[in-house]
């Protein structure tokens, strides 16, 4: 991750940076989804709602109240985590398919709400005044700052997921994934553990959303709550290996590479979501543990090294 950031920083080329920005963003999003999906086994189909809501809140503070980018993006993350904490009280009582459906509902409800919420600009959204970039020393510098922060937040998301996985709290989450009722009887405070995991996995998308919309200069409901992005994140996590730390990184890089190829190929350019669906189906049927999980099963010696 950092090595990659360094290559981009060293090169200093805008086009490479733009490509890397999207990729690193998806690594961060997939890594944070994995904290919920991979560790607790709760499949959030609408996880992008936290990217959208956090992004909206952060953007609102940037554009409307003149907050600085680092502070506003942090606030976006905290806002997403708080929403997840509240939502969790309701939706985390549901299990399996019911939970997955509820998360889609939440995403659609958030989109509908924001589209009609005037302080957030309603259905047309909000734009940044170009002069905002001046306080960062011009648009060029502002974009570099956004990139640096994106690398930092993605690294933080992966670090958090590694720390959680190797902690006592993480072991409780894995127990929930394997058998929630047995986990409860073993002494895991399941509602609290699930809520904290949900909040952690919502925090990073909120930060990332703010950075993304700042870079774009505008935010609108159609961009913020794209269900297809949610599904692509699931594909990335499943492809790389849910519940592993490296899986989402590998999955996001592989999927983005594939998507990049498809979007530029005349044959596949309108079919990339269909292909994503087919890939998801194949993973679930044949390699449910994903790439990293498969490696761990195939070569047990790697278990110690490959998290």
């Amino acid at each position: 991750m950092l090595a990659w950031g360094t290559i981009v920083w060293g090169g200093g080329n805008d086009a490479t940076r733009e490509k890397a920005f999207t990729l690193i963003m998806f690594v961060g999003l997939a890594g944070s989804l994995n904290i919920l999906l991979g560790y607790t086994g709760y499949v959030s189909f609408g996880h992008i709602v936290f990217f959208g809501l956090g992004g909206y809140m952060g953007f609102y503070l940037l554009a409307g109240h003149g907050w600085s980018l680092p502070l506003a993006s942090l606030a976006g993350g905290v806002f997403s985590a708080a929403i997840a904490g509240l939502l969790g009280l309701a939706v985390l009582r549901l299990r399996g398919a019911y939970f997955a459906l509820a998360t889609i509902g939440v995403n659609e409800a958030a989109r509908a709400f924001v589209s009609n919420f005037e302080p957030f600009g309603g259905s047309t959204g909000m734009s940044l005044n170009f002069s905002t970039y001046q306080q960062y020393g011009g648009a060029g510098k502002a974009l570099w700052l956004t990139f640096d922060l994106m690398v930092a937040v993605t690294a933080a998301a992966l670090l958090a997921s590694a720390l959680i996985k190797n902690s006592r709290f993480g072991l409780g989450l894995l127990a929930i994934r394997e058998d929630e009722d047995a986990a409860m009887v073993m002494g895991v405070r399941t509602p609290r553990a699930k809520t904290i995991a949900y909040m952690a996995s919502a925090f990073f998308p909120g930060v990332i959303g703010t950075l993304y919309f700042f870079k774009n200069g505008n935010v609108e409901p159609g961009d913020a709550f794209q269900l297809n992005m949610s599904i692509e994140l699931l594909v990335m996590v499943m492809l790389g290996g849910q519940g592993t730390v490296l899986g989402p990184l590998l999955g996001a890089v592989t999927y983005q590479g594939m998507r990049g190829y498809m979007l530029t190929s005349p044959l596949f350019k309108d079919l990339h979501l269909a292909v994503a669906g087919a890939v998801l189906l194949l993973i679930i049927l044949f390699v449910p543990a994903g790439f990293v999980g498969w490696l761990r099963e195939r070569f047990p010696k790697l278990r110690g090294v490959l998290e």
């Binding site: 006592r168 894995l174 994934r177 409860m184 073993m186 002494g187 519940g243």
Partner: protein, 252 residues
């Protein structure tokens, strides 16, 4: 008294699963819980450790009223249980399963300390060589021992065993019986549901008998075998009656 239930009742829709059950276990005792299928034995376990909330009555554990508390409270106060149908955390390794037991049990150990406890317990149950294996890959007898290991790693005061002998062959049963006696020697009180009569008669200090949600008898194994209400209850379930009779025959 380490555990006491006071007139505990539980109803599921039209089924009165437990009717005013009152009993107590002394510290260090092995109390056998027997009764025909569907008598409410597992429901009683689930009511004791908080999976179900009783409709009426109280559950007192080590002087504290645990009625209506969620199951993790019972676990953290020192109550551990195993399941009749084993529930290993399949994708985790055997060692991780047992570490989890220690982490969330009575002492809420850190991962590092839990690992030491886990290694010790795995050794005691003859699973030391399986630590790195996924729990799902064990055979039935090993899974049963894993369940026991996980619950022992919690260092409980009271262990609820739900048919740990079911599905084991005779030599595995005698091994498990020895393990149970060893656990008691280490100072853990045991409440066990069991259908393998010979074994439960042998290890229990006292027995309680449930039938159709009611506590119909309580006493030493020899008293229970000759109790007319117990024999009658089991005659409603011929296979169980046969097992009871054969146990009584070998005993005398």
């Amino acid at each position: 008294m380490i555990l006491e239930t006071r007139a505990v009742s539980k109803r599921f829709g039209g089924l009165q699963a437990l009717k005013e059950i009152s009993f107590a276990i002394r510290e260090g005792e092995i109390l056998g819980l027997i009764g025909p299928n569907g008598a409410g034995k597992t429901t009683l376990f689930n009511t004791i450790n908080g999976v179900f909330r009783p409709d009426k009555g109280r559950v007192i554990f080590r002087g504290e009223d645990l009625t209506g508390h969620p199951p993790w409270v019972a676990a953290r106060r020192g109550m551990a249980r195993t399941y009749q149908i084993v529930r290993p955390l399949k994708e985790l390794t055997v060692l991780e399963n047992v570490i989890a037991g220690a982490c969330f049990g009575l002492h809420a150990l850190s991962i590092g300390k839990a690992e030491d406890v886990a290694a010790e317990v795995l050794g005691m149950l003859g699973l030391a060589g399986h630590g790195r294996q996924p729990a799902g890959s064990l055979n039935v007898a090993e899974k049963k021992r894993l369940e026991l290991a996980r619950s022992l790693a919690a260092r409980p005061h009271l262990l609820l065993l739900d048919e740990v002998l079911a599905g084991l062959n005779p030599s595995e049963i005698s091994g498990m019986v020895e393990t149970i006696l060893k656990i008691r020697e280490s100072g853990i009180t045991i409440l066990m549901i069991e259908h393998v009569m010979q074994a439960v008669m042998k290890v229990s200090d006292r027995l309680i008998v449930l039938d159709d949600g009611e506590l119909i008898a309580e006493g030493r194994p020899s008293e229970i075998m000759n109790n007319p209400r117990v024999v009658h209850a089991y005659l409603g379930d011929p296979r169980a009656a046969e097992r009871l009779m054969s146990a009584s025959a070998t005993k005398s």
